[in-house]
């Protein structure tokens, strides 16, 4: 992993002085998840507009997790998080309730604190005014994310009518250190049949997960996190990466499968391995990916094809087997890895952006596929921003520094941040979240 020299420097006493006198960004060390740690430190303010129908299920979930819940900001002003339920908003004038709840909480918001806004999907609004109010929540949340400092994040959760019971998993994720590098995002929660894990510290116990591109970088971290959460991991990567793959598989007590995801029989080999060796297939993470950066003016057909083939077309081919009979079980989870580049576009990354935007399109289509909905299979994507890996370590220093700092959290993310988000999307309790594309980018200004 590339050393974040700037990040280390500003954490020294002298560094801090220089930074504050020059008004340079001052990134904090983000709060990250540990299985035994509380979801969040400090009291959580839960309030909202009108009847605030989601406030009470969220309150009882938090109370049962031994978290102190308050109806308003306490006298000392200190809060760990604020949850504003605007799901009953009918008109833009109701947005004042949000201001009234959130604004007083911001001053005393803890380092790496959380702002969570809850609303309903604008598409389902019954009046124009209601749609306007619902849509406004997105602009508000993204702006709060940009206003926050010291590792705090702001995210919006849109809960479909009738899916109130499914909101738990998303609130837990957004409050916890799992979402350290997720900010300015909109997560939509719909219907589905969530089942609670027996043990929240091992939500994937008994599950079998396949991770492609697992030999290094983000994929290796996904394998570790899924295994930590209880899953048996099948680590897949190119035969040529087999030695690194073997150490990942051995470290997580899983198995290594050397296969090029572009091979015609890759899907079959993956499904056969998972089902014969481990007896089932619950989770598939399509993480393998490559870049072959060149300006479009200099891109030949071979380069173009290799990027689209590895990053997108291989997924389409493998899915035929993975989503077919005897593949992923009903109620299973498919997670794809897109990229902020697929949303924002990048000079010199036309083929890469094509493939990653394609992944977003594929995710949306599969997420709303009625056959998959009937089978209870969720399909989501994460779109990483700047993550510290061997891939990004090769970017020239200037560009790399800009990539890190041009985000609300003012630093690069770690592979584990992407992995934690994927692990959350792989939980059965998350059955209501499908067709979502969640950026893990520290609210990067790119494509924002």
């Amino acid at each position: 992993m590339a050393a974040d020299l700037y990040g280390d420097l500003v954490r020294t006493g002298l560094g801090r002085k220089v930074v504050s006198s020059l008004h340079l960004p001052n990134p904090v060390r983000l709060r990250r998840y540990a299985p035994q740690a509380p979801l969040i430190e400090g009291p959580v303010v839960v309030a909202g507009h009108g009847a605030a129908p989601l406030a009470s299920p969220i309150t009882s979930m938090l109370t049962s997790s031994a978290i102190d819940v308050l109806g308003e900001v306490p006298a000392d002003g200190r809060v760990g998080a604020v949850v504003a339920d605007l799901s009953a908003a009918e008109h833009p004038q109701d947005l004042e309730s949000l201001r009234a709840v959130v604004s007083p909480a911001l001053k005393g918001l803890a380092t790496c604190g959380r702002v969570i806004v809850v609303g309903r999907p604008p598409q389902a609004a019954s009046t124009a005014a209601q749609s306007a109010a619902r849509q406004a929540l997105e602009g508000i949340t993204r702006s709060i994310g940009k206003e926050l400092r010291r590792g705090a994040t702001a995210n919006l959760v849109l809960v479909a009518e009738g899916a109130d019971a499914n909101v738990d998993a998303t609130i837990r994720f957004l409050l916890s250190g799992r979402s350290a590098f997720v900010s300015g995002q909109v997560v939509t929660v719909g219907d589905g049949q969530p089942s609670q894990p027996a043990d929240w510290a091992r939500p994937l116990a008994g599950r079998v997960a396949v991770v492609t591109g697992a030999a290094r970088g983000i994929g290796a971290s996904i394998a570790e996190v899924l295994a930590r959460d209880g899953a048996t991991v099948v680590a897949v990567d190119l035969p040529a990466a087999g030695d690194a793959l073997a150490s990942v598989a051995n470290a997580v007590g899983g198995t290594a499968l050397q296969v090029d995801v572009t091979a015609a029989d890759a899907g079959r080999r993956i499904v056969d391995h998972a089902t014969t060796r481990h007896g089932r297939l619950d989770i598939v993470v399509h993480n393998a990916g490559i870049t072959r950066d060149k300006l479009l003016v200099n891109t030949d057909a071979a380069r173009w094809h290799s990027v689209l083939d590895v990053n997108l077309m291989s997924i389409l081919r493998m899915n035929e087997v993975i989503l077919g009979d005897g593949g992923l079980r009903d109620g299973g989870h498919l997670v794809l890895v897109a990229s902020v580049a697929g949303i924002a576009g990048n000079r010199g990354q036309t083929s890469y952006a094509a493939s990653k935007a394609g992944v977003v399109g594929l995710t949306r289509a599969l997420g709303s596929d009625p056959r998959l909905r009937d089978r209870g299979i969720t399909v989501n994507a994460v779109a990483p921003g700047f993550i510290e890996t061997e891939m990004t370590a090769r970017i020239p220093l200037g560009t790399r520094e800009a990539g890190r700092r041009l985000s609300s959290l003012q630093q690069g993310g770690l592979p584990v941040d992407v992995a934690e988000t994927i692990a959350w999307l792989s939980q059965d309790v998350n059955a209501g979240v499908t067709g979502n594309v969640v950026r893990v980018c520290g609210q990067s200004l790119l494509g924002a």
Partner: protein
């Protein structure tokens, strides 16, 4: 007492790509290579933290400090530290002999799962002290008084500082293996063209196997090597014809660096188990171990060629199993030299040899050459002595599995000291 023998299944294998001497693995020890190979096997079969009863492996070129080579490799690997391990060594037969041992123990219910393997480094070879110098040091060590010690050390001579590097020589004849083979090659009149043809086929077959992905679940890269360094996919009869003979003398010399295996570094391992253990671990057997046989010849007196022992072992094995030489889907005859394979086949076709030497009424006959070393062999892959057996067993087991249940394969490996090990596998 549950003592009925049962079938031992071969579940798969792993090896690292073989490197040429002083190549990619120049700095790797036998222990390093064997550990990496066991780790790759553990990852492929999910053995990290699982109990495997025994690991049996060995090396031909071995440092005295490696007295517990296999156990040390196990302790450094992902296998649980409670895995028993020991070394076994029979020159180039080591890997196959280890397989036979583990299979027999499984058959006798002494083990449920075991790993057989082998490793050799020709680069990181042990270097011994000059024998005179060694005797001097031992005498000084035994001396009881300083004066006696000084007297003992005074026998040291500076030229004794020259180390003795191990050579591929037969101790009783002083001839290299290649020189021995050259005598046999000439005796059986094996042509240069036939040898070069076999060598070219070996390279082309192995290259095609890699391209087809056949080795995807047999090999794990190591120290930057992803394919065998000796493999020359583009070799041709013309290119091979240009090489000068390196063994044998004068006109009749036919053995070149192209049709002889080079010195190589590498390691391999095979996972064997009872059918119950395999089923309990979600592993489908690739093949079953059927039977094995050793033989040795008197090469010292010149009565028989050094590498001819497998020729004698195979008919004994066939007789015991009630099979003929033609009853096999695949033949894996280790290519120590191209001519070793060709002499072996020719001897089995030779009526007089089969009658006088093997005591057979009729010759064993010829084989369908299209079934011989179909995914390449040692000429292309290289031959780290003790690692060859595991390479062959794992890849033959996979071929037989692809061929289907009941298919049969014959393995023949010649070894230094005039020995040979042969075995039969059956597809599962």
């Amino acid at each position: 007492m549950a003592s009925t023998p049962r079938r031992a299944a071969i579940l798969g294998g792993n090896r690292i790509p073989f490197a040429r001497q002083n190549g990619a693995y120049a700095q790797a020890s036998n222990q390093d290579m064997l550990t990496a190979t066991l780790d790759g096997l553990a990852a492929r079969f999910g053995l990290a933290g699982e109990h495997v009863d025994e690991v049996v492996a060995g090396a031909v070129l071995k440092h005295s400090r490696d007295f517990n080579l296999t156990r040390e490799a196990v302790l450094g690997s992902a296998l649980v530290p409670t895995t028993a391990a020991y070394d076994l060594q029979q020159a180039c037969g080591t890997g196959l002999e280890a397989t036979i041992l583990v299979a027999n123990k499984i058959a006798l219910r002494q083990l449920d799962a075991g790993i057989a393997g082998g490793v050799d480094s020709s680069s990181d070879a042990p270097i011994a002290l000059d024998e005179g110098f060694r005797q001097t040091l031992l005498a000084a060590n035994r001396a009881k008084t300083p004066a006696a010690r000084a007297r003992a050390l005074a026998r040291f001579r500076p030229r004794q500082l020259l180390p003795s590097i191990p050579q591929n020589l037969e101790p009783r004849t002083g001839l290299s293996m290649g020189d021995h083979m050259a005598i046999t090659t000439a005796r059986w009149a094996i042509t240069r063209e036939a040898q070069d043809e076999l060598a070219a086929a070996s390279h082309h077959n192995l290259a095609a196997a890699y391209d087809r992905g056949f080795l995807d679940d047999l090999v794990t890269p190591y120290l930057g090597l992803t394919r065998d360094a000796n493999l020359r996919p583009g070799t041709s009869l013309d290119k091979l014809a240009m090489l000068k003979p390196v063994f044998g003398r004068g006109e009749g010399a036919t053995m070149t660096a192209g049709n002889s295996t080079p010195l190589t570094d590498g390691a391999s391992a095979v996972l064997l188990a009872s059918e119950d253990w395999a089923a309990a671990h979600g592993l489908a057997p690739l093949a079953f171990f059927v039977d094995g046989q050793d033989a040795a010849v008197d090469y010292v007196s010149g009565d028989e060629g050094l590498l001819m022992a497998p020729v004698y072992a195979v008919p004994r094995l066939l007789a015991r199993q009630g099979l003929t030489l033609q009853d096999f889907d695949y033949y894996e005859i280790h290519e120590a030299f191209a001519s070793t394979v060709l002499v072996t086949l020719k001897a089995w076709e030779d009526t007089e040899f089969c009658a006088t030497r093997l005591g057979l009424d009729a010759p064993l006959g010829s084989i369908d050459r299209a079934r011989l070393n179909v995914n390449g062999s040692s000429l292309a892959a290289g031959h780290p002595f003790a690692a060859t057996g595991g390479r062959i067993v794992a890849s033959l087991a996979k071929m037989l599995h692809e061929r289907g249940p009941g298919s049969r394969g014959l393995i023949s490996i010649c070894a230094a000291g005039g020995q040979g090990v042969v075995a039969i596998l059956e597809g599962a």
